[in-house]
Symmetry: C3
Subunit: 320 residues, 3 copies
């Protein structure tokens, strides 16, 4: 593996999930693979789970980790060429990325979307330039449009807890107080669509009218605006809020109750409930579910380590 | 040891102090005990000495350390159940603690009191919930009412420098410009009271009227509002400011001079002078003392490593 | 080596540069030298390249690194004696430095100048007190008047890329939008002057009238206010902005074009172009140069590791 940015960077999902679960069973079996290799984690936006789980995964592989929290440093990067830098940007991404590539063997990068300019966000300009100029393998720690370590984690978790060969997996929109990116649901959708094409599961998306995701991520999925229809016979419900893609970054009022709760759980096939966290209790997802036996959210967060570890392992194996 | 929150978590003070001093003599003798174990240090309030000394102690034991500075991240935790999270809190302590427990084998937590709500501070709600929900051993890096790593450090330092079998130890209130928590003096008092009950020392507290500490921490101590009386024949003077417990968080004007200086030192038995740092020079404690041979403050800060190391060692020995 | 603060801490430049280049060829050959030794990096001002490269160098030597970002902590240090600390400073440098010396075997410190008070900046009061009170070897990570790890890096880079035995090296002032310290050019000048005295190169400084550096750093250099004269036959051009030393911290308007670009490059002997980064593109230095084969800026930044590593190696060899 030379980079990890989207599901397209993985040949076979079943294979990588099995490899991740083997690492979970034996976390320290490759603890010299990363000897004398440095992982740099660059956060242009804040992180908790991603930083901790990736740091732990790298340590399990024997790597050294250096963290750069650039969100608080007022480190405004210039990404455009041909600009006279006499304003607020203090460094060009050409130099910034290249220098990090001098110090690190592998780089991780997190960068959120603006939610203002759809085209700029969805062409992933910053991420693509960082990959181009740093000269070393890059792992996405969440970009404007995708969060692949989360999606791989989710597939690992579904594989661990499934009771049927081909479970029904539902991505269900939920309310929130803020306008959130589409990165997590986009990414979940493209991973589940590929998993469906590998016959690993059946995938349905439910969202209110106006909250349709970009078709680039949902091809192959069953899509409905009826939550009840989607939840019927569901084995896994992935709860997540996102803002509108079509009216980019907008938040429409939704009159119906889309919060996942025990009443809705009864429609399902005793479904396991997932969420990428942090979750707003009793707004996105009820406390009764989160405190009960159907919730996987904590174990799912724990699995972030094995997603990161299998990705770093494959990248290390491909270094020189 | 399964947690380290108060003096109640230690059976015998003399034994743990001796073990700490053995580690000071041989810091690296257990350097594989923490192999493949991760310590997470969660700071809801800032830290310098505590972070550095605990990080060093963990490294001496071969542990991996991950630091989470949550005070700057605007990471507002919800601690109450049954709240619809449509406001400013972004994550519930149930999920936040449980997820950290997924990534770490041992957790350290620092959380200061509000100094507004006595009951909420003194029932240690946040700390107790964190311990309950994270599912792994927790070390207090200072809570609303206690700072046990500091107090163990202080007892180690007294043991190292005592010239008599049963020295007279005095906790002496001192002036400050801000309202400070009672955590350090509370904790020092409960450790010294227990040490007194083990016949290791004699313990006296001196504070101006209005600054009495909670009796839950001072049972067994000699308490006086006469600094002169307390300092007479003292072998160790522990200088510290705190705000009022009774009129919670208030700062009363004090007309008499309670700053520790050379004139007051003359009343003592050539006492060693201690302070947990940071110290306001010539407000709490005179420069002449701090620059002179009676001050232990720097060596005391250095001993923070051995307090942390003996606690982590005992917790590691008890894992699995 | 007992400290690394200026060029005066190095006996022979040619020897240290050769040793650094040997480490570059074999980075891990001394990876047990720093075993059980702790490096503390104290940043009173922000850092990217310096932190990453020094962290990597220390890790290559087997040291443990602890980073203290004090710039964001509102940790205001008192540096004067005899002050009653009832104001905004929360800790005296006597205690702060001494405590860090308790936890660390070697300390690095970064502290920028005020650019307001020339005397206070140029007597390096904070740095000298830190060195005095911490009690362990100190490495400058940039002080008010010098940036020696950068200058050593620059000499390593010149040595690597020189095509003649005694290349002509030019320090060329360039425009900027902010008032910048003289630390980098001061330091570069004192290192190049010493290198010239060792017959390693010829050194010229070019700056507009009003931007002369302090003579304490430039003795032996050829100094001119004609950029064209300086660039003629130059083998290396080191581009850098700085504010006025004489009218301390002032920024005079400069009418002529001092930005380094391809037209000016033609005057040189196909010179290699250097800059300590971050660089303002098309203000200090043209994009065409930065994107082209004459730019060394990225490789130069990469060499920061070997400068830090040779310095830490020499300090470790001298411990105990």
């Amino acid at each position: 593996m030379k980079k990890f940015f989207s599901v397209a960077d993985v040949d076979n999902l079943d294979t990588i999930v099995r490899e991740a679960l083997e690492l979970k069973a034996n976390p320290h079996v490759n603890d010299t693979l990363g000897r004398n290799k440095t992982l740099g984690l660059v956060f242009l936006n804040p992180s908790l789970r991603t930083r901790l789980s990736t740091q732990k995964a790298a340590t399990n592989l024997g790597m050294t980790v250096m963290v750069m929290n650039m969100d608080k440093d007022g480190w405004a990067l210039e990404t455009q060429d041909g600009v006279v830098m006499d304003g607020t940007t203090v460094e060009h991404i050409r130099e910034a990325a290249a220098v990090m590539g001098e110090y690190c063997d592998v780089l991780g990068l997190r960068s959120f979307p603006s939610l203002k300019d759809k085209e700029a966000d969805y062409n992933e300009d910053l991420f693509n330039k960082f990959i181009k100029f740093c000269g070393v393998p890059v792992v996405s720690l969440e970009s404007a449009t995708r969060h692949p370590l989360q999606s791989l984690t989710d597939l690992i978790t579904i594989t661990e807890y499934k009771k049927t060969i081909k479970p029904k997996v539902v991505l269900a929109w939920a309310p929130h107080v803020k306008a959130l990116p589409q990165a997590v649901p986009n990414s979940f959708a493209e991973w589940m669509c590929k998993a469906q094409s590998e016959n690993l599961l059946e995938f349905t998306i439910a969202q209110p009218a106006g909250y349709e995701l970009s078709e680039d991520f949902t091809k192959g999925a069953t899509i409905t605006s009826s939550l009840e229809e989607a939840l019927t016979n569901a084995d896994f419900v992935y709860v997540k809020n996102w803002s509108s893609y079509n009216e980019y970054g907008e938040v429409y009022p939704v009159r119906e109750n889309w919060m996942m709760d025990n009443a809705k759980l009864k429609i399902t096939n005793d479904a396991k409930v997932m969420h990428c966290l942090p979750v707003r209790r009793d707004l996105e997802l009820s406390s009764e579910i989160l405190n009960g036996p159907n919730s996987l959210v904590v174990k799912e967060a724990g699995n972030r380590v094995w997603a990161a570890q299998v990705v770093l392992k494959r990248i290390l194996e491909n270094l020189n």
